[in-house]
């Protein structure tokens, strides 16, 4: 087991290297030399050359890559042109807010989705099973940003129940923040919830018809215990393996959803950065999200290895 985890950790090195090279390449092929952009239009060529030397742009590409990587490990992601602040600081202040809605959305999706999937597997062909099938289809096809817009239209414009913009303030009490979080989280959770429901349903259907479940029932074990302690345990590895993939989808969804709800996280920052061509910020933000994604899928994989009795060495 330990060896497997080590092997998985070693696989991480090339992945991170690829991620770094992709973000490095972006800065090298974007239109416009960063030095001349910084110096402004009609700048003295000597000033540009000086800036190039200062930014290390006169060195060879492999050297530049090494400098880039070592800067990143020092926490130096460059300076945002737009905010005129270190990119690292900006990301640090924004990423907790994005993680807040992605993780809450994912947890909501996990709980409701597995519940729906389990119930519909146990009552095959009942109304709840049909609902589950339709729901998992809709959830996979509805555009998350459109659902966001429609929920604003319904709950904020028409009914006036919930606030539309921002994340509220903790000074106004926890309720303020929670009411701002409710719609973004629900929108985000829809697509993963559909996937969880579908996965749980199919893997529960595979297990509940097994002989050992029938044997447990015959021995007079409580139904609740049979389902949650024995059948669900076998469906769990499948759900965990889906969880890792869903996180990436949630991140993608968060970038779009944040823009609709003006949630002050990474997504709104990235879209501002895109509109102002703030390349240092785009690069830093994307690198951070990719690394977070890699880290969480690593944790998921390790949990999967620990939880799945079929993997044993």
């Amino acid at each position: 087991m330990i060896r497997l985890i080590w092997k998985r950790l070693l696989q991480l090195i090339p992945t991170v290297l690829i991620v770094l090279s992709v973000t490095f390449v972006i800065t090298r092929i974007i239109p416009g030399n960063p030095a001349s952009v910084l110096a402004g239009p009609e700048a003295d060529p000597r000033l540009i050359a000086e800036l190039e030397a200062k930014m290390g742009l006169d060195k060879s590409i492999p050297e530049q890559f090494l400098i880039y990587v070592s800067d990143i490990f020092k926490g130096d992601f460059g300076t945002s042109l737009n905010y005129n602040e270190p990119v690292f600081q900006l990301i640090l202040s924004r990423i907790p807010k994005t993680l807040m809605i992605t993780f809450t959305g994912l947890i909501v999706a996990l709980i409701l989705g597995t519940l729906l999937g389990t119930v519909s597997a146990l009552r095959q062909n009942s109304w709840i099973d049909h609902f589950c099938t339709v729901f998992s289809l809709l959830g996979a096809s509805l555009p998350v940003f459109w659902i966001g817009i429609m929920s604003i239209f319904l709950f904020s414009v028409k009914l006036g129940w919930l606030p539309t913009m921002g994340m509220g303030s903790i000074q106004n009490g926890l309720g303020d923040v929670l009411s701002h979080m409710l719609l973004p989280c629900l929108c985000l959770s829809l697509a993963p919830m559909a996937t969880f429901a579908r996965t749980t349903r199919s893997s529960m259907l595979d297990t509940v018809n097994n002989d050992y479940i029938r044997a447990l029932r015959a021995r007079g074990l409580k139904e609740r215990k049979v389902i949650w302690k024995h059948a669900f345990k076998n469906a769990l590895p499948q759900i965990i393996s889906v969880l890792g993939v869903q996180l990436g989808i949630c991140f993608s969804g968060a970038i779009l959803t944040e823009n609709i709800f003006s949630w002050p996280g990474m997504g709104t920052m990235i879209s501002t950065a895109i509109n102002t061509r703030d390349y240092a910020l785009i690069q830093g933000a994307i690198l951070t999200l990719a690394v977070v994604n890699v880290a969480v899928s690593l944790i998921m994989d390790i949990i999967y290895m620990l939880i799945n009795p079929k993997i044993k060495i």
Binding site: S252, I274, I282
Partner: protein, 301 residues
């Protein structure tokens, strides 16, 4: 004499293959049609393709023609079934032309992603060993980026426009295809029929492309169809963020982006494009699921 024999045996082979193929198509089609939701998907996709192909005939107005006297009309206004936008452009015409953009980008990017992914997957799966490890680590690296992020990055680098969006979404789809194809090839290359071909002296290229690929094609077709659905979503998402297809060229995403600003007074400008995005994605998803069930019921994941 020898040559004649070879030709005749080839002719027999092809006719036998043709017969087999025909039977396969027939049974596939029958299975597909028996599945109601698959047929619904096919109908939706069919309507979309007709909309995309005959946009210029079907749309009542020029999608980019301004008419400032008739701006922000509500749906069912005379002459404008879906109303007009903030510049008086006919929404129905813009939606119809938007379908052309969506289908073009979704299909184009799926072709790009599928082809590159297939090359990587075939090389990795067939060669195995070091080639496999190196290629798959690269794919893992690409997979680390949440998909929309990778497309955002690529469009930012490449610039806006349909062709660049096709490239960006195509490259973002590569990891998925590469993994599927590789998975098939690692299993199939050790099958009995491959060993037989190897003993008969088939070249690596022939073995991989002529013998293994046809056996691996079912999941590729399914992924291709499902990828069109997710590419429609991604394209809409990109245009919604203001990347990719830039107004006045209509795309469902940028119509929705523009409509979002009028949510309070003219909600139809945001509701209608969203419904079309949803229906298109639903159609391709249903069709993809239908193809999967008809090709191989065991493939369900």
């Amino acid at each position: 004499m020898k040559r004649k024999e070879k030709i005749s045996s080839e002719a027999v082979m092809t006719s036998a293959e043709l017969l087999k193929k025909e039977q396969k198509v027939n049974s596939f089609w029958k299975k597909f049609v028996r599945n109601k939701s698959a047929v619904v998907g096919l109908v939706i996709v069919g309507i979309l393709v007709i909309m995309a192909l005959f946009s210029s005939v079907l749309s009542p107005y020029d999608p980019e023609a301004l008419d400032l006297k008739n701006k922000l009309l509500t749906p069912f206004s005379p002459g404008h079934l879906f109303g007009t936008d903030e510049f008086g452009r006919d929404l129905l015409s813009r939606i119809i032309y938007g379908s052309r953009m969506s289908i073009l980008i979704a299909a184009g990017s799926s072709v790009v992603g599928c082809l590159i992914g297939m090359v990587i997957g075939i090389l990795a799966g067939y060669c195995g060993g070091v080639v496999d490890s190196v290629l798959m680590r690269i794919v893992d690296g690409l997979f680390a980026f949440p998909s929309i992020l990778l497309s955002i990055v690529l469009v930012t680098v490449l610039g806006n426009g349909a062709l660049n969006v096709i490239l960006a979404l195509g490259i973002s789809a590569v990891p998925k295809f590469a993994r599927v194809v590789r998975g098939q090839f690692t299993v199939l290359r050790n099958e009995e029929f491959c060993n037989a071909e190897r003993v008969l002296g088939a070249s690596h290229f022939r073995l991989a492309v002529v013998h293994i690929l046809p056996n691996a094609i079912s999941p590729i077709i399914v992924y291709f169809t499902l990828n069109i659905a997710s590419a429609i979503l991604s394209e809409a998402g990109l245009s919604f963020l203001g990347l990719g297809i830039i107004a006045p060229t209509p795309s469902w995403g940028n119509i929705l982006r523009a409509g979002n600003a009028f949510l309070y007074n003219k909600p139809h400008l945001a509701i209608i494009p969203g419904i079309f995005i949803f229906l298109a994605v639903l159609g391709f998803n249903l069709m993809g699921d239908g193809i999967r069930d008809a090709l191989d019921p065991k493939m369900k994941q």
